[in-house]
């Protein structure tokens, strides 16, 4: 039997409608730092939450999770570590 345990980080990918100012406002409202747009993906932002465990086998719960209820937040995902190997 093969079981896979996910490792959750304290980084989130968020899709927010309304530009960077809106993203900044929502981030600070829920205690995140907005580290900017994710590469060239429009409306996707990199949020960081310093009061969440850097690595954890359970996904983060707390008042910051209510961010997903903001009307301008279209999608949010806590980032999971992916094992990648140099070839």
């Amino acid at each position: 039997p093969f079981s896979r345990t996910l490792t959750y980080t304290n980084h989130w990918a968020v899709r927010i409608n309304g530009g960077v100012e809106e993203a900044d406002t929502i981030a600070s409202k829920y205690g995140y730092n907005n580290l900017g747009q994710i590469g060239s993906l429009k409306d996707y932002y990199h949020f960081y939450h310093s009061r969440t465990m850097k690595r954890s086998t359970i996904s983060s719960r707390g008042s910051h999770s209510f961010i997903s209820m903001e009307p301008k937040v279209e999608w949010i995902q806590q980032q999971v570590v992916k094992r990648r190997i140099k070839r």
Binding site: F2, A13, G39, S40, V81, R83, R84
Partner: protein, 802 residues
């Protein structure tokens, strides 16, 4: 044309040049089999100039002597550290050498007497540091979508574990980054992603289980040893497109490249030596024709790669005449053939995607049995926008439940009879997860026709005792056919003049160009398909490439959309926003270049008259680019002229401003206290004061309690700050500025009226205490001053009147 021969080979003074067998194959002692004709491409003048390549890895040693000159800051980023410096993290084991090694293969500088030469030695090279930390979907997406309008080629030599039991691929953000890249990167031509196919040979891994190398957006590169044999690490699969050389057995020669700590190495091995080599070759082709789209590049690779001396048990010729194998794809890349093709290449017709309706009939997979499912594909012939007649990639989306995934082998046979192995047994894969909508991909039917019966076979061969009461189940599968509705090389392509020796047409009936010619009628314009009702492109029934509609409601067929128009993917040219010159959509934020007087904002894709704050105008690309972090205004990426609040300008960089009595330490990234003698300072220590603490005085660049010897305390005006200023050079000590304010003189000088004059034995005759004084009075009284010796001895007394 270039002909092999030692006399014609160029000479480079880089010490490892003679050992670079994979670039020049002129060494008789080693019995060269075949090379990749890289020198041939160089001799045609292509060295990668104006092409930008980035290596997605663990960083790049940007100050390596072989990389420094070609290093491109705009093609680099540190995703792990979230800053612009991709320098690797150094440790005792040199763990982070991988990116620097890959970079050298692409663009090590030629003729600089150092180490090695890159395949595209004039290409710009960058590096993204993204593997030296937690890799997440977001980290991958950031890396894959870095500056897609600036970077041409992304080279990645990593992936999910090649342990023979992992099935993993790009998640939603990385997938989106790939899709955006091929759709909008390179101003709509599509970013080129080159991928190392996998190093799981010993673990019996299969690269179909790696969703990155298995993607249609990546050019999956495998390796061959010098001898043409399969290297020990090589995985096989149907998604591999082509091959370059890498290391093999101990008797095979090695690949040489740049190494960490400004060194050189011949230890770089595996498919990660091969992928950047392919990226370099593609850079040569892009220099030959910068208008190649991402699909043009794949077509050119398919057409020019050669099976040559490569040793594989499964070489076969598909129905379009291409030799292909699961080990090497279409074979060894040929740089010279690629640049020749690129020079005359015209873009292939738009890609059509035909998603055949899924077969949802559940089928039981019994041990030691084969499940065979036949699917009648139409190639979406009823839908003009999705019709696929000539194939490129074929994806099979499969959902299977199975008690032991590693026991499965999957095959797909095309209507023309080409059989691809989509998956072979994996000894170490004990997973019970099966496959959930996993996409297997094959390139082996490239150029064949799509319509007809496709056969999917699933073999279950138990490698160990299993509970046979729970057999596997094929729950659903569907075919996604990628290709074109017309022949890709029809009217636009001038065929290659010398046919490849290893191209064998299986049957003249299947010759694609013949099939294509049947579809044309006599005197219609070449831009027409399905006939016409008059001469000229405005009388076509249907267009080969694009429709262009005029205001008066007439329309014409055009080979490409003119300036100010974009292709809406239904092959219609639609108008861009009024101030866009080129665009990918009709909205104001879908511009890719702007009309005169406007500049493109690279982040919003909007045309603006003036660059906004924190952006500068890059005149070459007529683009507003973002200044480096912390700049409010700048003249270039790292040339700040004004800083954001809380920062101050030091030279051309903005650094954090600290409170009085402290300074910004850039290494520790924080403010630190100045020396106690400073009120303000620029750095650590007494000598970095910019103003002094109370009761201290500034003396040169340090603050002192009292002025040193040779300095005097100066206060230029009332209430001004007192400083220690250096005395006149003629004084030892002084009471003020200038040569007349000396208070003591250096030895050999005499103080006369505050000035130091060259001392002789002559002393002031007026100083009665000195014996010489009364002597001189006597000299003068006796009129002996005329005598030269006495005049010198009593100079002052003698010169006084009276």
């Amino acid at each position: 044309d270039f002909k092999p021969g030692a006399a014609q080979y160029p000479y480079f003074n880089d010490p490892k040049w003679p050992s670079m067998w994979y670039i020049h194959c002129n060494d008789d002692t080693h019995h060269c089999q075949s090379d990749m004709n890289i020198v041939g491409a160089w001799r045609r003048g292509y060295t990668g100039r104006n092409v930008v390549v980035t290596i997605l890895d663990d960083g790049i040693e940007r100050n390596h002597p072989d990389l420094q000159q070609n290093y491109d800051q705009m093609a680099s980023f540190d995703v792990n550290g979230n800053d612009w410096d991709p320098m690797p993290r150094y440790d005792a084991s040199n763990e982070n050498k991988h990116g620097t090694r890959c970079a050298g293969e692409v663009a090590a500088v030629a003729n600089n007497s150092h180490c090695t030469i890159g395949v595209a030695y004039n290409a710009k090279i960058g590096g993204v540091r993204m593997l030296d930390g937690d890799v997440t979907d977001m980290v991958e997406a950031k890396s894959l979508s870095l500056h897609p309008q600036h970077i041409d080629i992304y080279s990645a030599s990593w992936g999910p574990d090649d342990d023979g039991k992992t099935v993993d691929g790009p998640a939603s953000l990385a997938r989106q980054a790939f899709e955006n890249g091929i759709r909008m990167g390179r101003r709509g031509l599509g970013s080129i992603y080159v991928w190392a196919s996998g190093n799981g040979g010993r673990s019996r891994d299969h690269c179909s289980c790696d969703g990155y190398t298995n993607s249609i957006y990546t050019i999956s590169i495998s390796s061959t040893a010098e001898s043409g044999k399969k290297p020990w690490y090589l995985e096989e699969c149907a998604s591999t497109l082509a091959t370059t050389y890498s290391s093999g057995e101990s008797y095979d020669r090695k690949i040489i490249t740049t190494d960490l700590r400004q060194r050189c190495t011949d230890s770089h091995t595996g498919t990660s030596a091969s992928a950047p080599m392919a990226a370099g070759i593609i850079a040569l082709a892009l220099e030959a024709n910068p208008n190649l789209s991402w699909r043009d590049v794949q077509h050119i690779i398919v057409r020019t790669s050669r099976s040559g001396h490569l040793n594989a048990p499964d070489w076969k010729t598909n129905a379009a005449g291409y030799r292909v194998s699961h080990l090497y794809g279409f074979g060894l890349m040929d740089a010279e053939a690629m640049v020749k093709e690129a020079e005359r290449w015209k873009s292939v017709p738009p890609q059509h995607i035909c998603v055949e309706s899924p077969d949802k009939q559940s089928r039981t997979i019994r041990p030691e049995h084969v499940v065979r499912a036949v699917y009648k594909a139409t190639g979406c012939s009823e839908n003009l926008n999705h019709h696929v007649l000539y194939l490129e990639h074929i994806v099979v989306r499969v959902t299977i439940a199975h008690p032991r995934r590693g026991d499965l082998a999957i095959y797909l046979t095309s209507p023309s009879g080409t059989k691809s192995e989509l998956l072979s047994n994996r000894l170490f894969d004990h997973s019970m997860e099966g496959f959930k909508s996993w996409e297997f991909m094959t390139t082996h039917s490239w150029g064949e026709k799509a319509v007809g019966d496709w056969v999917l076979e699933i073999h279950d061969s138990p490698s160990q005792l299993r509970n046979f009461k729970t057999p596997g189940k094929l729950k659903e599968f569907s075919l996604v056919l990628y290709g074109t509705s017309v022949h890709p090389y029809s009217s636009s392509y001038t065929p290659f003049d010398t046919p490849k020796v290893d191209r064998v047409r299986s049957s003249p009936v299947d010759e694609p160009s013949e099939g294509f010619q049947d579809e044309f009628t006599g005197s219609c314009d070449p831009e027409c398909i399905n006939g016409c009702d008059g001469l000229g492109p405005q009388h076509c029934i249907d267009c080969l490439h694009f429709f262009l509609k005029f205001k008066n409601n007439t329309r014409t067929c055009v080979p490409e959309c003119p300036r100010g128009f974009y292709d809406d993917e239904k092959r219609r040219c639609k108008k861009c926003w009024s101030i866009c010159e080129n665009c990918v959509g009709s909205r104001s934020d879908q511009c890719i270049s702007c009309k005169n007087g406007y500049h493109l904002n690279e982040e919003t894709n909007v045309c603006v008259t003036n660059c906004p704050e924190s952006f500068y105008l890059d005149k070459n690309g007529n683009t507003c680019r973002r200044c480096s972090e912390n700049c409010r205004r700048c003249n270039g990426f790292q040339f700040c002229t004004d800083c954001k609040p809380g920062m101050s300008l030091q030279g051309t960089k903005c650094v954090f401003s600290c409170a009085d009595g402290s300074y910004y330490n850039s290494q520790k990234r924080g403010c630190e206290r100045c020396h106690f003698s400073c009120a303000t300072c620029a750095g650590q220590g007494q000598e970095s004061c910019t103003r002094c603490a109370p009761s201290f005085y500034m003396e040169d660049w340090r603050c002192v309690l009292s002025c040193s010897v040779g300095y005097f305390l100066d206060q230029p005006y009332e209430n001004a700050e007192k400083t220690c200023r250096r005395c006149d050079p003629s004084c030892s000590t002084c009471i003020g500025h200038g040569e007349r304010n000396c208070s003591t003189c250096p030895s050999g000088y005499n103080l006369e009226d505050g000035a130091c004059v060259l001392g002789t034995v002559c002393k002031d005759a007026t100083e009665e205490s000195w014996a010489e004084g009364s002597f001189c009075v006597l000299v003068k009284k006796n009129s002996l001053c005329q005598r030269k010796v006495l005049q010198q001895l009593c100079c002052r007394t003698c010169s006084l009147k009276g």
